[in-house]
Structure formats: structure tokens, C-alpha cells
């Protein structure tokens, strides 16, 4: 094992950063299929049926909140790319705040839906399972951003080396895109 190089150069010359990013992308593709399966149930079993008392306005507001959070997490990443750790911290906080706001709205939505949409009906079941799975993903996104935040406070990220931030941001964008599909499939079609 003498002189063993862990900076091995392989065909295509991928850097560790690119390798990590590729792994994350495959994970995201896989998770997309999870939501595809949920949507498949909704469309195959129920077609475009939906109960009348869905609160589309509220869901619209939630969509806007999440889209804003995608913007802020993007700014966070840009900040550290320019070496601005304080900007990074600020935008991370903002993103997490928007995420928490989304979850609060979601909780409110659920508390109404529990009364108005029977969870023991097919639509109710898929409604709670899909929004619940999304909320779990959002919660894990918050957890990741919190870890990134703590690491950033320790000064773990540099302009040329901030994989943790990139990963958290990419995952966060994914969770947002998933919400768009949930909004479309459960509320709009």
C-alpha cells in the first residue's frame, strides 16, 4: 500500500466534488420515483376526482412560500461562493424560517383537512400520505440545513470548498419541485 494515492485520477478525471454531486443526483432521481408512485396511485385509482372543499388558495400561498425559500437558499450558496460567510448564515436562517412557515401552514391545512376530507377514503388517504411524505422530506431538509448552519458557524466552508452547502441547497430545491408536483396533482388536475 506504500505511496498509495487517494487522489487517484480516473477516466474522465472526476473530482471528489463531482462524484459527490453525482451521487446526490441519483438519490434525487430515486426519490422522484417515490412521488411518481404516489401520483400514479392518485391518477390510476381516482382519475381527476377531488373533493370540493380543498383549500386551493392556502396551497397557493404555501407554494409561494416554498418558491421564495428556493430563492433564498440559492442566495446562500452564492454568498459562500463569494466568501461571504455572514451572508450565508443570514440566507440559511431565512430559508429555514420559510421552511418552518411552510410547515406551520401545512399543519393548519391538515387540521382543517382532518375534519373535511375523510382520511379513511381513498382521496383522503393519498392526500395525507403524499403531503405527509413531502413534509417529511422538508423536515429532513431543515435538519440538513441546520447542520450546514452549525458547520458554517464553525467556519467549515470556503469559496472553493463548500460541498455541504451545495448539497443542502440542491436537496432543498428538489423538495420544492416535489411540492410543485404535489400541488399540481392533488389540487389542480
Amino acid at each position: 500500500m506504500s505511496g498509495h494515492s487517494h487522489e487517484a485520477v480516473y477516466e474522465g478525471g472526476y473530482t471528489r466534488l463531482q462524484i459527490n454531486r453525482m451521487g446526490l443526483w441519483f438519490f434525487i432521481i430515486s426519490e422522484a420515483f417515490l412521488f411518481l408512485a404516489l401520483h400514479a396511485y392518485r391518477l390510476l385509482a381516482l382519475g381527476t376526482f377531488k373533493p370540493e372543499n380543498l383549500n386551493i388558495t392556502l396551497a397557493g400561498v404555501m407554494t409561494i412560500v416554498l418558491l421564495l425559500s428556493s430563492l433564498t437558499v440559492h442566495r446562500a450558496e452564492k454568498a459562500i461562493a463569494h466568501g461571504d460567510t455572514r451572508g450565508l448564515l443570514r440566507y440559511l436562517l431565512l430559508t429555514m424560517g420559510l421552511g418552518v412557515a411552510f410547515l406551520a401552514l401545512m399543519g393548519y391545512e391538515w387540521s382543517i383537512a382532518f375534519r373535511e376530507i375523510n382520511p379513511s377514503s381513498p382521496y383522503g388517504s393519498i392526500f395525507f400520505l403524499t403531503t405527509g411524505s413531502h413534509a417529511l422530506h422538508l423536515l429532513s431538509g431543515l435538519f440538513i440545513l441546520a447542520l450546514v448552519y452549525l458547520a458554517a458557524r464553525r467556519g467549515a466552508y470556503q469559496p472553493e470548498d463548500h460541498w455541504g452547502v451545495t448539497a443542502g441547497a440542491l436537496y432543498w430545491h428538489f423538495v420544492d419541485v416535489v411540492w410543485l408536483s404535489v400541488f399540481l396533482i392533488l389540487y389542480l388536475v
Binding site: V9, A40, L44, P122
Partner: protein
Amino acid sequence: MLPVFRGLMWGVIGFLIGGGLTALIRGVLGLEPWVFGSVFLVGYLFGLAGWLLGVGVWDTWMREFLGLEPRPYQAEGWRRYFGFTTDHKVIGIQYGATFLGMFFLAGLLAMMMRIELMQPGRDIFNFAQYNRVMSLHGFLMVLVAVTAIPGMFGNYFVPLMIGAEDMAFPRMNALSFWIWPPAAILLLLSPFFGGWDSGWTGYPPLALTNDPGQMFYNLAFFTGGLSSVVGSINFLTTIITMRAPGMTWGRLPIFVWSIFMTSIMSLTATQFVGVAMLMTVLDRVANTAFFDPARGGYPLIYQHIFWFYSHPAVYVMMMPAWGIMLEVLAHFARKPLFAYKWAVAGFGGVTALSFAVWAHHMFTSGMPETLHVPFMATTESISVPTGLIFLSALGTLWQGKLRFKTPMLFALGGLFNFLIGGITGVFNSDLPADVHLHDTFWVVSHFHYTIVGGAIFGLFAGIYYWYPKMVGRMYSERLGRLHFWLMFIFFNLVFLPMAWLGLHGMNRRIGDYPPELGGVNAFVSISAFILGASFLIFLYNMVMAWARGPVAEANPWGARTLEWATSSPPPVHNFPAVPQVLSGPYDYGVPEAGVHAAVPVES
């Protein structure tokens, strides 16, 4: 303490915390606290988390996340195999030992079924017990067929064959293995909780109304799926980014290609079976209405979601076995792999089409009739890419200098069996025929020809081919051939008559049959016992070789690929430095080719 024991301890603690909390919450809400369903479900999820943290996730990952110094598991000798070891070769052997164990256990269950079926009427089981034994046998075997080759040989040999020092994500690789033991424990415990009787397919509404043992199946399937996803992320990334310089896509060994394509299917389709399992469990414990007709749910949709995974899953079983067979054929025919590019295209075509045929399992399910003809057409068209793979195999044999060593015998036998499996499949996919064939022993014959005859023969071809590399010792060729001939002959004597039995009205998943079929069934049972006994020869051969077989050379077969260019077994990081790949892996007898790769010597 060995990490496995720490994992077990935290698993039990997690189970108690999760289950206890659930009972507590139920009590506070005024529900009956100790119901099996939800208490067991939450207990299991906490137990799974506890097990993973205890066995090594805490030390290797969480500490790093939390800014503490990680404490990777470092051990020598046999202890490496009982902890969160990141060396892909150790992980390959962990997978191999686990899944061969499951294979033999499920084989014993098959022997018990054949005792019951030896003569008409009831002998050792009642109908309910028979179906529970059948279900456990079938599900264990499905897990083995899906996981054994990618887990054992994929992990061990993909990095070696592409000239990498390990997988792209070694810790995730360890994780993918350590997710399995909880699933295995669930299945081993399930008989003590009544087992389940729905077969490996777990259709509702039966799966919603039968004994709680059903949940062991659902949770085990879900857990295994998790591992598949983690594993396939790792394979795809490794194969794309960690190929040695010169290892272009056109020089990739065919086995690596097969794992690549397989991983595409596992990465995506597996999520569907996870969702099917999750929905079933929720219907059982949380009063949801996904599949429960009593609440207006749709049991048929379960079948769509289930088969959207489980049809690709049959190619997840078969494709790596094809990879091994083509690999072995080329090396033992001493010829370039015929039509290499077309074989790869065949893999790609099968992968793509496998997502578009699932409803051929549902011809008699009452699904909309407009779906019948399209799914018949897609299913039959999958013969085209399959044919490409077959032609590559036959062309490789053509005018080759065949060396009939044990691995070669298994590859050839597998090819022959799979041909019969594929032909019986065409009858299944033919709608008018399938209406009669469905749920008979014809189908049992079909899928055993493909899975045992194809995938398991491929697995054993791989075991005999790579054993000297993995263990560093050589087995007895004589016993290997004896095993092959017994397994090949009696496999066919077991499963060919089953096709006939199906045509004569023997239904699957029922522990009895019309009395006039007794004679053939007795013949099948006796053949099955001999088939089972042939594995004792295998075990004896492997154990004796491991204990005191002659030391294996680095390259006992004179094969070109990279795993043979390092010692047997290989050192920790495989090669002294990254090799330089210079020509194709199968260029036997190609005058201008030279060696496959230049491996730097120890400096």
C-alpha cells in the same frame, strides 16, 4: 463489543422505545394501547434506526455531521466481517455469506413443500400451513435472486474490474449491507408470529385481513428496497466516475455493464414496491383506504404498483447472471465476446422495456381490457433484446476453444435452462394461453426455469469462477463437475414435469392436487430431494477448499480482466496504483491487442 452486538442492543432498545411510545400515545388518546399493528410498526422503525446507529452509522457518520471526530471501525481478521467495514471486498463476502445462508434455508422449506406434495391429500401440513411455508420460501428466494449477485459479486468485483481502489461511497456501501440484517431477522422471526400466507406478491385484500404476520413481509420488503436504492446509487456513481484511465465505455467488462443496467432499474422501480408496502401497512394500522375495498379502496391498483417494480425485478435477478455467463463464456472459449456492442444494446433494451410490461401479470385480474393487447405486444417484443444477448453468447461459443471447467459448465447449463424459461414465458404473455396457464404450475415451472435455471445457475457459475480469487484457495474440480451434473439433471427433472402438471390442472399455492397427478408429483419430489442433496456436495467442496485446498494462483483461468491482475485475494486497495487500461477485456487471440491493462508494480 463487536458492532453487531452493539447494533442488536440498540435495535432492541429502539424497538422498546418506539413501541412503548406508541402504546403510551394510544393510551393518552383513549385508544386501546397494546394493539399489535401500530405498536409493532413504530417499534420496528425505531429498532431499525437503533440498529443502524449502533452498528456503525453513529461512529462513521453522525459524529462527523455533528463536528466530532469520526471513529471508523478498524479491525483485523474475522472481526472485520462483523462490523461497519468499508472495504468493498469485505462487504461482498458479508453479502455472500448472508444470502447463501438464506438460500439454503429457503431450500429446506422447498424440501418440506415437496414432502407435502409427494402424494395427494394432506400429509405434514394443512392448507394454511402449506401456504405459509410456500410464502416464506418464495419471498426468501426472491430476495436471494435479487440481491445475491449484485451484493456479493457486484461489490467485490466491479471496483476490481474497472481498476478502482474501492466504491465511490464506501460508507454507503457498508450501510447498504447493514440494512439487511433487520429484514432477515424479521423473516426468521415471522414463523413464530404465525407467518403469512399471501405468497411473495402480498396482494390485498388478503394482505389486509390475514394474520399480523403479514406485516413482517411488508416491512422486510420495504427494508430490502431501501438497501437496493442505496446500493444502486453507489454502483452507478462508481461505474461512471471510478474507471481506470483507458477503461472506456467500450472496454467495460460485460459483467460491469450488467450491474450498471441493473442498477438503473433498482434505483427507480424499487420506490414503487416501497410505496405498495407502505400503503398496505397503513391500511392495516392507520385505517387508510388505499387498497381496502371495504372502505372504497382499489385492490387492483396494488397490483399495478407492485408489478411496476416486480417485473423489472425479474430482470434485476437475471441481468447480472447474464453478465456472469457472458463473462465466463468469453474467457473459457478464449475468444472475444461476440457482438459486444449488441449485447450491451440488448441489456439497454431489456432495461427500457422492462418498465413497460408489468401488466402481463394481470391478464386475469379484471383490469381494463384495453390494456390487454398493448401489454401482450410489449412483453413479446422483449424477446428481441433478449435475443441479442443470446446471439452474443452463441456467437462467442462458435468455433471457440471451449474449456469445460466447472464455471463454464454452469454458464452453458444456465443458457440452456434460460432458453426453456424464455420459451415458456412467450406462452404466458400470449393472452388466450395465459387465461388458462395463470396460477397453475406451468407458471411455477416458467419462473423456476428463468430464476433458478438462469439466475441461480449464473450465481453458481460466478461462485466457481471467482472462488479462487475471493478465498485464495482452489476447490476440487471433480466435485464441482459432479455438483453441476447433479444440479443440472435434477433441476430439469423437477421443473420440466411441473409444466406438464400445470397443463393438467395442478394449481399453484394450494397444498393439494387432483389424485391422478400423484405419480408425476412423486417423481418430482424425489428429483427435488436429489437436487437439494447436490448442494451438500457444493458445501463440502467449498468448506474443504477453504480449510485446506491448494493455494490459488493470481490468475488460475488465464483470464484477461483486471481482477485477475492482482493477488488472490487482493490487498486492501486492490492495486499498488491505478492501472492503465490499454485494450479490450476479451481480446483473446487478437494479434495487435497486447495486454488488457498495465498494472504498476509495488514501488
